[in-house]
Amino acid sequence: MDILRFITAGSVDDGKSTLIGRLLYDSKSIFQDQLEAIEKAGQVNGQINLALLTDGLKAEREQGITIDVAYKYFSTPKRKFIIADAPGHVQYTRNMVTGASNSDLAIILIDARKGVIEQTYRHSYIVSLLRIPYVVVCINKMDLVDFSEEVFLNIQKQYLEFAKDLDLKSIHFLPISALNGDNVVDLSASMPWWKGKSLLGFLEDIELHTEEESPAPRFPVQNVIRPQTTEYHDYRGYAGQIRSGHFTVGDSITVLPSGLKSKIKAIDTYAGSVNSAYAPMSVAIRLEDEIDVSRGDMLVVTGQEPTTSQDLEAHICWMDQKPMTPGSKYLLRQTTNAVKASIRSLEYRVETSTHEKKEQTSLALNEIGKVTIRTAKPVAYDPYSKIRGTGSFVLVDEGTNQTVAAGMLL
């Protein structure tokens, strides 16, 4: 069994929380005591309010909106699912980016009565920017348009038209009614024209494959394990999680950013040493030579080095109340590395609902733009489009300690 992590995106009243509630309810993933708790809390149009399953905070239940990401879990015999239920409001864009950053798939909800709206553009742009490999566009509330195939096909056409400008590799469409459960877990009798799978059937069967066939081996070092006991007197293991590719005993290794070289002597796990390991395994690597390696360094296979530079170009999503202005200094965290950095320039801001590039001097909360950054020390990285694990970073304001930006390197 594997894990599929997905996010749901949609405008405030498109029914995201209801869809998740329905998915959990019809797949029998809701427990009796949870049901009793939401039944007690009241009904909507004579039905239990499934949205209450995900809106876990008092303020959310009071206002009937989702403020922050909620993570929900369910599994079928085929797969374990982790749902990031992200808010749709533009003012919570940063929370949607948070949920999207770890997702393999995005469900974008569209209200069948409204068709593609501004929020659909915004959410699709974020999905494309974060390079979520799969998109499922669920056209919801089909019950309110008489389950019309024509309405469904028109919205599909409209979406494909604007998605041409986006970097979405795999787009699928589904007509559903989250409120009544049509095509969510079970196929709907009201839409006999629909020959595809239900949403759950689709999520269970979709084959997850790589962005790249053979990604380059990347191992950021987290800690150095040195027991200094009699038994392990000379033990020096570099602990970390393999971000991409494979490592095998005997591989020639380059340490970045220093450029020092060695070979892999052993790959250790608690259960014993292994001959090779691959992403995303957490292991400890020992090298043949005693060279200087510490947290923040990256071990790569010699000949497959990433870029190492102090000048970076990136898309960033600004996440702080205080706007970003060029010249400001931050702490840049990428893999296990932390380095001082300053934003040199803002090249443009992206209007997420139209994808237009606008000239602007600063980025406000929830705005996305392209920047150039200078770091105090060289950073080893891959473009985000090649390897998400080494091409992503966050900026931390050293005064407030807040995470103020999410970045994707070009």
């Binding site: 427990f31 876990g56 909620a70 997850l208 394990i225 392990y232 995303p280 965290r333 995470t403 999410a406």
Partner: protein, 302 residues
């Protein structure tokens, strides 16, 4: 991502948890692992072995002892500390009560669950812990479903669900001001069933409480409660002996048992797979109000 999906879901979850534990070791000066003797924190200790052996843990195990624990859980705790050779620190809620810092609840169902936070915050201050690792999971409760893996608490130990830091990819930001601390939840993404399947796969030892045994009980609000010196019985209570086991282990005053014949891990997994109630359905402390957990977390509770 081909590679990612070659690892089973348990291997992926394990690798993620080890990565998080190692981030704690790297980013904090004085972390601690909060250990209760329950299955989730026992899994955390097992994951720490995987993350740091052959070295020692870069943190002590800390138990906030409410004084209402099951003897079996305490014995298991002490044995585990001895077996691993790791440092165990115990602090007592009774001491906080004696010092007048915490007030014992009155009534028929007194629980020390909420005042545990007082002793925890004092312990954090005493040792200047900047990070506390805990075994909470997001599937347990709806407020927990909202919490980040690195959850920043202010100097009062309080969680503000509206002011959480964005948490992106697997880049965790553990930077805090003096006096603040971070609660870290390495098994956030695990479900109850994942924990049990992991215990089976890794052959992890558990206290006998989790397996069926004969025990004296009373019924309270449709829940089966163990008879102990910590609950007051009156004439309306009928003490019976039943075959039970515990699905979750907390205080004897707030943890209900379930009637069960399951006495192996396989039996337990089969039982959970068909269960129609959540694990916390047997915790009285969560049934007090709609937002019981959220309110406790705002007050410094784990």
């Amino acid at each position: 991502m081909t590679d990612l999906h070659r690892l089973s879901h348990l291997d992926q979850l394990e690798s993620e948890a080890i990565y998080i534990l190692r981030e704690v070791a790297a980013q904090f000066e004085r972390p601690a692992l909060l250990f209760s003797g329950g299955k989730d924190s026992i899994c955390l200790v097992h994951l720490a072995l995987k993350a740091f052996r052959p070295g020692k843990f870069p943190f002590p195990l800390v138990h906030i002892d409410t004084g209402h624990n099951f003897d079996e859980a305490l014995k298991f705790r002490d044995d585990l500390a001895e077996r691993t050779g790791e440092k165990l620190i115990v602090r007592y809620v009774q001491d906080s009560i004696d010092q007048g810092k915490a007030v014992e609840e009155k009534g028929k169902f007194p629980s020390r669950n909420a005042i545990q936070a007082v002793t925890l915050l004092d312990t954090i201050a005493e040792f200047k812990f900047d990070a506390c690792i805990g075994g909470a999971r997001r599937d347990e409760e709806k407020a927990r479903a909202k919490e980040r893996i690195f959850s920043v608490r202010d100097e009062f130990g309080s969680w503000d669900p509206k002011l959480q830091r964005p948490e992106l990819w697997n880049i965790y930001n553990g930077k805090i001001h003096v006096g603040e601390n971070v609660r870290v939840f390495p098994i956030s993404n695990w479900t109850e069933l994942d924990v049990w399947e992991y215990i089976r796969k890794e052959k992890i030892e558990l206290p006998s409480l989790y397996f069926s045994h004969r025990r004296e009980i009373v019924w309270r609000e449709d829940l089966v409660f163990p008879v102990s010196k910590f609950i007051s019985l009156d004439n309306s209570d009928k003490v019976e002996t039943r075959t039970v086991r515990f699905r979750t282990v907390g205080d004897m005053t707030c943890t209900a048992a379930v009637e069960s014949e399951a006495n192996s891990i396989d039996d337990i997994i089969r039982e959970i797979q068909v269960s129609r109630t959540t694990e916390r359905g047997s915790r009285l402390d969560d049934k007090r109000s709609e937002a019981a957990m959220e309110d406790r977390k705002k007050g410094g509770y784990f």
